[in-house]
């Protein structure tokens, strides 16, 4: 297991190096530089050139890449061109928001998706099955910004139950510990923060959960259907085992493997989904930061973001792979 983990981490290092090279080359190949967004529209060509020179954008690409690598080795992401702040700080400040949002989204997606997929499979052909399949199709197809707008119109504007923007009501006193606001509120006993943060999370989390939820329903349904048809389930049934035992030990545990794999992949894509969701809900996480960095050609910020995402994606999938060993003894034996 240890050797396997080390091997995977080494693969990660190589993958990151390749990725950074690719990204660097790609960014530099794009026409138009960040100086055009950093200066007012009427800045003179001389002022733009001065800025390119000051930022080292006029140096050869290889020397720029070398400088970038040496900074990375020192875990220095550099300075954001649009905000003038260290990118490490920017990411650290905004990451908790995205993690909190993604966690809620995945909890919603898993919490509803797996039971719903299971029920759809067990009651195949009923209205419930049909509803779940059709609903998940809609969930996959519906654009997040459209869903977000609909949610806002219904729950915020018409019913007035939930806010449309921000992570907390502005002006609310809040003590930061982990940056996950619901958790912090529980830890410090600021229950108004817990309630307020939860209310603010509701709509963006639902919007972000829509696609993963739909995928999980479908995968669970398909996986359960396959397992239910297996001989060992029939045998267990014939032995007269309790339904809960059959469901837990024989069906779900075996059906979980593909579901866990998909959840691992979905976790990564949640970060990408968060870019849009956070912008639409002004949620102040990493997503809205990247959105801004993209429009402003803030290369260092984008590089930092993509590398962080790449690392977390690989680590998440490593955890998923390791969890196979727990779910499926055959995998364990092979290692």
């Amino acid at each position: 297991m240890l050797r396997y983990t080390v091997k995977r981490l080494l693969q990660l290092a190589v993958a990151l190096l390749g990725l950074s090279l690719l990204l660097f080359a790609w960014f530099k190949a794009l026409p138009g530089g960040p100086e055009n967004r950093m200066l007012p529209d009427n800045a003179t060509d001389q002022q733009r050139e001065a800025l390119r020179q000051a930022l080292g954008l006029d140096e050869p690409i290889w020397s720029q890449y070398g400088e970038f690598l040496s900074r990375m080795v020192h875990l220095d992401f550099g300075t954001s061109l649009s905000s003038g702040r260290p990118i490490g700080t920017e990411l650290a400040e905004r990451l908790p928001a995205t993690i909190e949002l993604s966690m809620w989204a995945i909890v919603i997606a898993v919490g509803i998706g797996i039971p719903l997929g299971y029920l759809a499979a067990r009651r195949r052909g009923t209205w419930l099955d049909f509803g779940a399949v059709a609903g998940s199709l809609v969930g996959i197809c519906i654009p997040v910004f459209f869903l977000a707008a609909m949610l806002k119109v219904v729950f915020a504007q018409e019913l007035g139950w939930l806010p449309t923007t921000f992570r907390l009501s502005p002006g609310l006193t809040y003590t930061e510990i982990t940056g996950l606001r619901v958790l912090d509120g529980l830890l410090t006993g600021e229950f108004d923060v817990v309630w307020d943060a939860a209310r603010h999370l509701m709509l963006p989390a639902i919007a972000l959960a829509s696609i993963p939820l739909a995928v999980i329903v479908r995968i669970t349904r398909a996986s359960v259907l396959e397992v239910v048809g297996e001989d060992y389930v029939r045998t267990a049934d014939a032995k007269g085992l309790k339904q809960t035992t059959i469901r837990g030990r024989h069906i779900m545990k075996n059906a979980m493997l593909p579901i866990v794999t998909v959840i691992g992949l979905l976790l990564g894509s949640l970060f990408a989904g968060a870019v849009l969701t956070e912008s639409v809900f002004a949620f102040g996480g990493i997503g809205s930061f990247v959105y801004q960095a993209t429009t402003e050609r803030d290369y260092p910020a984008l590089m930092g973001f993509i590398l962080v995402i790449a690392v977390s994606y690989v680590v998440l999938n490593l955890i998923v792979d390791l969890s196979y060993g727990f779910l499926d003894p055959r995998v364990r034996v092979r290692k």
Binding site: G32, M38, D45, P163, T164, P170, F191, A282
Partner: protein, 555 residues
């Protein structure tokens, strides 16, 4: 283990729910009180389109920073509408050459840290900026300072600034500060109104060393990113900048020299998405926001929201790049100008308050001339003129930006579509060239676009801030060489007498519109919206709203 944990959690959730209900009741009670109570208890939340960059205004060049810092740091002079009025200086005068600017400061002004304002404090600020070194000189940090004053005490060769500084020192005598320049430019007195020259407390400056930014890609010093170090004299003081929540909180400064602010707590919270800003206002999450999409103005008004109209202070134009044949032919440029129905653009794309532009400055600025040639919409004349010029089958490339809206140019594609349709109607074949914004400026600057849409929103009230941007010398973006215009502009820019200068600008506007380097299309006010229960401040054409004026309305 797991089960034993659930019950406290459940209890906690129960407690949270009851606490929330109690809070809700309190909130419900307070909302029934009058406006004055609300001013004290309820924060005013404004949805800003973007994050500010620095709480030290000298390092910023963006409107979102200035929106916040204007409330905190006063400038020597100020704008009322488009007129320059006293700020920290109660009166001011210039010598005839425009090289000596004397400011008589208000008495009894204190900074938020208790320090008294005097001329010494003003000079310390100007001297500090003049003596910036290293990365502090980079245009991404001190763009405006170097634009106004040319350069620094010692220009750092790494920062690419070559011009010599025109700052020749500041003399302090009690409450009288005299700033000297080696030569006059029409950036003055405008520069003294710019938020970037906001005056910071000398006691704050003592805590700063100005040696942290060595290269242009060093980050700004930490103090520019938080509350607590810099004190100004404005109606609000900065109390918190929460980067994660993208919000800046200001509290009323009770010893403000003017009328103290109505609302005690003011919060600027970033909502970058245009629709999200509108929805947040509609849902009551915020009480106001800026840059309302033109299409949203009427629905907001119908729903009872307030959208006060700003005066116009920008110009959208379509440039004719004269190195591209046949745009070097004046008759062709005139024909194309007659072909375009600018009123339709104003009526169908721009927000209420927009108007057709007749020249390259908005009518709110001194030097706007009634005598310019106007090139009214006349498609028949346009067809005829094109025929006379032998250009019946003219085919031309027109560029527009794709992924951006600017205050002077909401919905570039819609504007382009109208222009293209009008040009096609007089027999011109239009090649549409959409370009993303970051590439757009370089493309238009280098002369790659024969015709293109662009514009400018003014920083301060002088025609130089508009005309000087475009016509001071021969450039590839316009592609014409007209010494009469260049020399006229240089002369006006160096004329220290405001009245003489105004006349020179007016004459120059006539000359420019005869030459017709481009067609000025429109001026349009960026819209700002407020909730129904707010009494908004007076809105400013320069988007320099004073938030201390606004209040919650009593119900």
């Amino acid at each position: 283990m797991r089960t034993s944990r659930t019950s406290p959690t459940r209890r906690a959730i129960g407690a949270a729910a009851s606490a929330a209900i109690a809070l809700g009741l309190i909130a419900a009670c307070s909302s029934e009180r009058g406006g004055e109570d609300l001013n004290e208890t309820k924060p005013f939340i404004f949805g800003s389109p973007g994050d500010p960059a620095s709480m030290d205004p000298v390092f910023a060049s963006d409107g979102e920073t200035f929106r916040v810092t204007r409330q905190v740091f006063d400038t020597l002079l100020d704008h009322d509408g488009t007129e320059i009025v006293p700020g920290l200086a109660e009166t001011w005068e210039q010598n005839p050459e425009g090289t000596e600017w004397t400011f008589n400061l208000r008495e009894g002004v204190t900074f938020h840290d208790g320090t008294e304002l005097n001329a010494e404090a003003v000079c310390q600020n100007f001297d500090r900026w003049h003596n910036f070194t290293g990365g502090y000189q980079s245009p991404n940090y001190t763009y405006y300072y170097s634009s106004f004053f040319g350069g620094f005490a010692e220009n750092d060769p790494e920062m690419g600034i070559e011009a010599e500084s025109i700052y020749a020192g500041c003399e302090a005598d009690g409450l009288t500060a005299t700033i000297s320049l080696t030569e006059y430019t029409a950036n003055f007195p405008g520069a003294f109104t710019m938020a970037t020259t906001g005056i910071v407390s000398p006691a704050s400056l003592e805590q700063i060393t100005d040696d942290e930014v060595v290269t242009a890609d060093d980050p700004l010093p930490q103090y520019t990113q938080e509350a607590g170090v810099l004190a100004g004299t404005g109606p609000y003081e900065l109390t918190e900048w929460d980067h994660g929540a993208q919000s800046v909180t200001l509290e009323r400064y009770d010893d403000f020299w003017g009328e103290t602010a109505n609302v005690k707590t003011l919060i600027f919270n970033t909502i970058s998405d245009e629709n999200a800003r509108r929805q947040a206002l509609e849902a009551g999450d915020i009480q106001g926001y800026d840059l309302v999409a033109p299409a949203d103005v009427q629905p907001l008004l119908d729903a009872g929201f307030q959208v006060p109209e700003r005066d116009v202070f920008n110009i959208l134009y379509m440039a004719y790049q004269q190195q591209t044949a046949p745009l070097d032919d004046h008759d062709v440029r005139a024909a194309l100008s007659h072909a375009i129905d600018r009123q339709r653009i104003v009526d169908s794309v721009l927000p209420p308050g927009g108007e057709v532009a007749s020249q390259f400055i908005p009518p709110t600025i001194d030097g706007w001339s009634e005598e310019v040639t106007t090139y009214d919409y006349d498609p028949e004349l346009a067809t005829q003129m094109l025929a006379d010029a032998g250009q019946e089958d003219l085919s031309i490339e027109v560029c527009y930006p794709t992924d951006v809206t600017r205050p002077y140019m909401p919905a570039p594609k819609d504007i382009f579509d109208i222009i293209a349709a009008d040009l096609e109607a007089v027999g011109v074949t239009v090649e549409a060239t959409p370009i993303s914004w970051v590439d757009y400026i370089p493309a238009t600057r280098s002369g790659d676009c024969p015709m293109y849409l662009l514009g400018w929103t003014g920083d301060f009230t002088d025609a130089y801030n508009f005309l000087g941007t475009w016509f001071s010398t021969e450039t590839t973006e316009w592609g014409f060489d007209e010494p009469e215009i260049f020399d006229g502009l240089a002369a006006a820019a160096a004329e220290p007498d405001p009245e003489v200068r105004t006349q020179m600008w007016a004459d120059l506007n006539v000359t420019i519109m005869d030459q017709l380097p481009g067609l000025p299309i429109s001026s349009s006010p960026p819209s700002i919206a407020f909730a129904a229960n707010v009494e908004p401040m007076e809105v400013s054409p320069l988007t320099q709203e004073d938030f201390s004026e606004l209040s919650f309305a009593s119900e």
